[in-house]
Symmetry: D2
Subunit: 421 residues, 4 copies
Amino acid sequence: MNEKCMELAAQLVPKTFVKVAKDASHSREKQIENLLIHKKIPEEGWDDISIELLLSQLALMDSNNFMGNCGLGEREARVASSLVARRHYNFGHGIGRSGDLNEPQPKAAGSSLMYKLTNRFLEDLFKLMGIQSTVRCILVPLATGCRAIVVDTKRNGDQLETDVEGILKKIKEVGANKVLCVMTTTACFAPRACDNIEEVAKLCKQFDVPHLINNAYGLQDKSVMCRIQKAQRVGRVDLLVQSTDKNLMVPVGGAIIASFDEDLLQTVSKCYPGRASGSPIMDVFITLLHLGKSGYLKLVEERVEKFKLLSEKLREIAAGIGERLLESPQNPISMAMSMSKLPADELRSYGAKLYIRSVSGTRVIDLMEHKIICGQEFKSWGSSTNDYDVPYMTAAAAIGVTDDDIDLFMKRMKKIFGKNQ
Amino acid sequence: MNEKCMELAAQLVPKTFVKVAKDASHSREKQIENLLIHKKIPEEGWDDISIELLLSQLALMDSNNFMGNCGLGEREARVASSLVARRHYNFGHGIGRSGDLNEPQPKAAGSSLMYKLTNRFLEDLFKLMGIQSTVRCILVPLATGCRAIVVDTKRNGDQLETDVEGILKKIKEVGANKVLCVMTTTACFAPRACDNIEEVAKLCKQFDVPHLINNAYGLQDKSVMCRIQKAQRVGRVDLLVQSTDKNLMVPVGGAIIASFDEDLLQTVSKCYPGRASGSPIMDVFITLLHLGKSGYLKLVEERVEKFKLLSEKLREIAAGIGERLLESPQNPISMAMSMSKLPADELRSYGAKLYIRSVSGTRVIDLMEHKIICGQEFKSWGSSTNDYDVPYMTAAAAIGVTDDDIDLFMKRMKKIFGKNQ
Amino acid sequence: MNEKCMELAAQLVPKTFVKVAKDASHSREKQIENLLIHKKIPEEGWDDISIELLLSQLALMDSNNFMGNCGLGEREARVASSLVARRHYNFGHGIGRSGDLNEPQPKAAGSSLMYKLTNRFLEDLFKLMGIQSTVRCILVPLATGCRAIVVDTKRNGDQLETDVEGILKKIKEVGANKVLCVMTTTACFAPRACDNIEEVAKLCKQFDVPHLINNAYGLQDKSVMCRIQKAQRVGRVDLLVQSTDKNLMVPVGGAIIASFDEDLLQTVSKCYPGRASGSPIMDVFITLLHLGKSGYLKLVEERVEKFKLLSEKLREIAAGIGERLLESPQNPISMAMSMSKLPADELRSYGAKLYIRSVSGTRVIDLMEHKIICGQEFKSWGSSTNDYDVPYMTAAAAIGVTDDDIDLFMKRMKKIFGKNQ
Amino acid sequence: MNEKCMELAAQLVPKTFVKVAKDASHSREKQIENLLIHKKIPEEGWDDISIELLLSQLALMDSNNFMGNCGLGEREARVASSLVARRHYNFGHGIGRSGDLNEPQPKAAGSSLMYKLTNRFLEDLFKLMGIQSTVRCILVPLATGCRAIVVDTKRNGDQLETDVEGILKKIKEVGANKVLCVMTTTACFAPRACDNIEEVAKLCKQFDVPHLINNAYGLQDKSVMCRIQKAQRVGRVDLLVQSTDKNLMVPVGGAIIASFDEDLLQTVSKCYPGRASGSPIMDVFITLLHLGKSGYLKLVEERVEKFKLLSEKLREIAAGIGERLLESPQNPISMAMSMSKLPADELRSYGAKLYIRSVSGTRVIDLMEHKIICGQEFKSWGSSTNDYDVPYMTAAAAIGVTDDDIDLFMKRMKKIFGKNQ
């Protein structure tokens, strides 16, 4: 309530009461003011009241919520169902303009503001996770994913590592000027390691080839982010792509595209042909306000602990049934347990047994599935290489995983593999 | 967003966009300002965005929503479940202070303000419905209802009317100084009429006896309100009691106590021993903002039409089965159809048949039920008298009734009474 | 989804996926089934999904949510504003029938069921808190509070205790058969102690006088509940009254009336004249499902710790300014710090200073306010006695109080009393 | 509630009440059953209660809502903020699997089911709007938009029409085997007409070139849909692309891709590289349930009327200031008013004047802006051609436009152009 309303309120309620209330309302306003001044994730997460207050104030800045607005375009953010309007906090205009995601939308100052702030928050998040160079981010309402020429990994012990030599050879073979980009991956299923992005970055620099890092769920891990920072220092890194749902605990639907080169990012932003859904942006905006920096760091640190815990427990289980945890020291999120003692044709049934017992996310790789996608052959599909010889099961300790998840998993594993123990 | 935030926003979004958005936000603020200036129901109903905006701003004025509040009393409006907090829009302090409902609560300036405004709205509503004398209202979070000495009605044609002579006699018999109050009823089941409140008011004035009008669902009808106004002019009317759910389309739980005498109302307000639930107040507050005066009047007028429609349709049905609509011209909301041709012991089964076909609110009076409550005998229970001779069924056209309700009712009536046609 | 829908779903989504989903849906159903079998607070709190699922299923049992319902009574739970409908989860019929709160409402099987379950939950809660005798509860949508003849407390050290002798004398003086009831209080501001309810219960038994215990916020404390149990064993206890907001962390608005005598409780239930608001019932229902027994006990135990912490901290502060914590060992929730060194006429300004710094719930008793209520004189108003000689300030560690509350309070206390240190 | 719960309920609430409630609950279940049997938009829109009931039941089928689920993948639909979870009705898994949008997701049977149903609804909607041939649809969570080689329109009177000859010439020039597809547009700003899609379809058939119709907001208009049907009959139509927000009154964010060739659509579905946001799908799902067929048709018919009304009113305004409505009889949604009497360099200021008066969606084309996009030159940008000679302003009567919109627009137009009148 503005100054005047507060004065009017004092006609009905004692002045002293209103005074205290005004001061209190003022501190909420101040909170929003500070957010707009700093354009950073708040240190401490906000409560839901503040978050919804800000959302409602932003929504009022969009034309579809103007009193006396008349809309005569072909797209005016009219919403038929009040359930839909409500769940979008009365936002409807999406983000961007035709031809540039990042351009403010005249009909939607509030949506545009939310988008700008969210991108700033993400830049702040990269800093928090260890990136020291200046980085620019845009959040795009697309899931991540892509397809390309594959240079197979090479094996080192259990671990599957980047075949840097192979990439070098392939660049020379194809011709550096014909390579759109080299794509590396930081976050993948064990026993594959985080790619050797530093060495690939050097190659890319040397041959003047763009380097795109698929960092799908690497943003949650400081060691990965640290390697990205190093890769950028010693070589070439053009774009980083990461999923919002995998790193920020929001529903599926968004990707963060980040770059150390602002112009490049502008070009990417102009590639999205139309206006886009604002829904994944709102999810990220709310979540970062909710968690604050301290909340996110807490999740990040807890995840590291859970990873250790899960490794230990799984190692025990493995030992009990004559199997072992594959060694993939450079994969900080996913792990794999060998399944070499069980009959090969029964392996999948173990996956199914876990699935029907509500264990989700584990994968059994029996090395027996071959796939051809766009002419590219993938032997032992799912294993990140063409000739792995140990069948295995993966499990990940990703952000938000809890002790309960791990306990329940162990119980069910014991039940299923019990007869083998 | 305040002036300063809007300026800051212009660092991220073009100034012109922010300017338009600021003007738009301003008109919402203006709307709240006007409400606080006039303290009346808005002419046109507000949209949900404005209503929720106001509620959230009021909630911020209550201590439980202060940032940095520390609560060290035995009751601090802490709420355990976020579902509960959410459904109360983060209000938790209830209304009033121990010993006076109407006294502002220091911990809850917002709740107190909402309560004061709601009472003002109700006074405005009485005006809208035809009361010209100054009237004061308090909304109490109690359902209506009471028990007393009964002076039976007397019959005039089908209609049951006030036995004014009987009341006079009873006052004399008991002694006027021993009568706590005379209670009349405006709204009741046909064939009972609205009480002759004008004549009773005269008696009360003459004998200096308080007069309380049970106007449970009379507020929705202008003819009833007009009679109350007249009663007050020609005689004595002390208190009016009406249900919120029956008149204002809110969930059960509140009563409006109104009086032409402000001091008397203050005394009533002090009778409620503790702090009270704010929930029924919030319901009324939201609803009156939502409907606006025009919305309420539209409902009131539609109801009068539906009453006519229901009368006609029921009259037809009655004719088809050799029954008739009882004549109760002074009951503007409820009506009764005779059920004299059916075996007396089967009458109740007709009520049950309607009930299991999702017809609610009709009542079958077979005149065969006798009850004794607090020593007072009620023959032919439910009929508003002790010796009615025509069994009947009542139906009401109350506020919010729709054409669909009436159509469905007719179809089901035809099915049930079909064999008799 | 029922069996058939699941089968149909398998036309669109693989059977195995549907199978797993069906099992999962089934476990939610099972949860509801178990609730209905045991009619007790669940051991572990439910998540919001289950709570809202149950609420929506109960709401569907009320006539206003029947598809094809036609309502022809004067009260059909039609709701004008969708905001209001939504915040009541589409419940609208309130609870009870005219003349008995506890009687099921034919139009509202769901509401009635919720009410019955809530009352059962409360009985379970009394057990949890230490009552071993069979107890019956009804939740009434009224705040607690009452007025009566006062027998002053007597002082023992700092503590104000029950004057059992005085009560005995007063019963004899008035005549036991003319005493409606003796009312004791368990929960009150320090330095008053919990009343000696055991001795009063004996007196009441001896003189055959009803005994009502105002247990406003005593339900949260096991030591209080234990004394109530003992009082019932050694003497007479008729009714217990407790606030829902003070004990269960819900918004103001409900009271739990409990009795060891089921017939007596039935009589009380019939005293509420009309149908009543279901809103306070819903709040309690949701909250107990949300917390579960373990969640409530955790709050109860934490509160005991916070009480100790607050006592220590306040004792320190007091020492620093030459004051002391008054000794009131029999008050487990509230405490009082003497304020005897400050000028008497400035004491209130300290209360105001705390208030404008968002400290709520503390009370400064300067012993200088006298009040007359209903002809009864109260000297040194607020102090639970007529002649206390040490001015003081109270603070309570009630359920839900946090470390943050206590820290902030200490900081502000130090600021305000700093100059005296 | 299932059978067993209902039986248990009858222990607390009378059997007859429960029986009626059970029947009522059953009719809601039946409604869902019928939806799953027919997989079509319901004739009449559902109420919010049914919609939310279905959503909650679908959500329970997703693994993140299983009780006792343990998630050990890198993406488990954990949601950090309860605000986010709530606004997505606890859905979090998005839709599709890596590599195919349309493939059911094992972790998310409910989401998958919702997606399948939504696509079926859309096919049903095409039928409703006049498409008789079998059509398949997929909803993709992307906004529409694209860039290509341009064949300029040719002028006929005021109207800009398809240069079919020009397209023929260009196909021959480029070589049919090198043309990825011909793209036509049905819905565009007046004075451009709907493209001559029938003739282009014939050309495409003749030269064996794919034909993609940008039907961005044409789905709302039966005349456009009728032409699409005809084009498919007489020639070749491969893909239809339409925006959800422009046709279905949902927030920006989705596109409907439709085809008469199921295999082609499968191929398109496999082009989306990862899992995608389910948010636009949920919006469409809710909206079509909410409107039902009858609700959508009502909107469609009202729009046609509003289009006539807006044309007449704008024609009047134009006449008053010496301008005229450009004749574009083949554009059923957008219209244009000449602005030839005003100084060319002031034209844009009129756009701004409307904008700051909260008129959104109108566009002033002053023919003075030239743009180069991807090397392609666009003279008189915004006019759909390179050499139009009449500056003009467009306005659209799109779905959901109201009388109020038109009234307000007229008032503001009169104010702005008043001095010219």
